[in-house]
């Protein structure tokens, strides 16, 4: 084929949009389609085993999935017939373990897979979740993202010591300020050149490059030198479910993502600068398969 045609073809291919593929999960035997745990051959009942999640991660990576998304709830679904009986008996998103604790292991056995994890900000202070996601940002080399939710279950509120969950608009009012604090912590504390690791002078980090972040707002108060995000300019990617888009806007145009479709933390480099394209991953995985 003439070189000019080759060039034109590769330019056309470069302009094509890639479809991203996401696997939808929850750390439970019975996620959204209740009952499939009973399907012959289903391994959903192994949800409390790390072996299961290692296999999920490896299969997703091998299958060129871009990401695995985890839904999460803190309570039990107890509205139907005024009882939690059906949810408990039928494993309707219950029991539900903490998905965040799966991520380091799943990240360790993969290289390209990204992780979107639901975390409810209604029941713990901003510093706590900022720290947890910052830690995961380090451990996954930037492959973590946060699905910001405020909860929908009164049972979760009761578990946390409230009589019922706060009203919808109040939850989103709180969420807006919450994320303002989180971004301040991620971006305002450590300068990129703070860590010097100067063993000769026994200086790990420069004191004048690490700042206490202070926030005194309507709902939250925090003063902290936080654990740093990998780079201040690239905090963990955050989004919120599109179905909940009735609330107040979250800071900085936090994107709405329909979590049953696909997200991809496109502005997160994974150590080497950029995420590998699907074509690059295919080539790598094909190489691995042919040599095994």
């Amino acid at each position: 084929m003439p070189a000019a045609f080759e060039t034109e073809r590769s330019m056309t291919q470069a302009a094509k949009k890639e479809i991203s593929i996401n696997a939808f999960y929850a750390n439970t035997p019975g996620q959204n389609w209740i009952g499939l745990w009973s399907l012959p051959g289903s391994r959903a009942s192994e949800y409390a085993s790390l072996d299961y999640w290692v296999d999920v991660a490896r299969i997703a990576e091998r299958g060129l999935f871009d990401s695995v998304f985890f839904a999460d709830t803190n309570g039990v679904n107890d509205v139907y017939e005024g009882s939690s009986r059906a949810a408990i008996e039928r494993a309707a998103m219950f029991p539900m373990n903490d998905p965040l604790l799966l991520i380091p292991t799943m990240a360790y056995v993969t290289k390209h897979l990204s992780f979107g994890v639901t975390a409810n900000l209604s029941y713990e202070p901003p510093y706590a979740l900022a720290r947890r996601f910052s830690t995961l940002d380090h451990l996954t080399k930037g492959r973590i993202s946060w699905n910001i939710v405020t909860g929908f279950q009164d049972s979760a509120a009761r578990a946390m010591g409230l009589d019922r969950q706060r009203d919808h608009d109040m939850r989103y009012d709180l969420a807006e300020e919450y994320m303002e604090v989180v971004y301040k912590l991620w971006e305002g504390s450590w300068q990129d050149d703070a860590v010097v690791r100067d063993a000769a002078n026994r200086i790990y980090a420069r004191g004048d490059r690490v700042h206490e972040v202070s926030h005194d707002g309507k709902h939250f108060k925090s003063a902290a030198c936080t654990c740093r995000s990998r780079r201040r300019s690239e905090p963990p990617f955050c989004f919120r479910p599109a179905v909940l888009n009735a609330g107040a806007p979250l800071p900085r145009g936090t994107p709405n993502v329909c979590s049953s479709t696909v997200f991809r933390a496109k502005r997160r480099p994974s150590g080497s600068g950029k995420f590998a394209s699907r074509r690059e991953r295919k080539a790598e995985i094909r190489g691995t398969l042919s040599s095994s």
């Binding site: 389609w33 209740i34 499939l36 399907l39 039928r90 309707a92």
Partner: protein
Amino acid sequence: MATVVTAPTEAEARDKFEMLARHVDAEGMLALRSVYRESIFRRT
């Protein structure tokens, strides 16, 4: 050895869907959807 994956035929896809549908638990789905309906769509 690479695994070759091929798309299912329409009949295979229908069989698979029907098998999945047989295992979806109606009462469990009601338990899940009831809380969604009350908490999200009514915006309580």
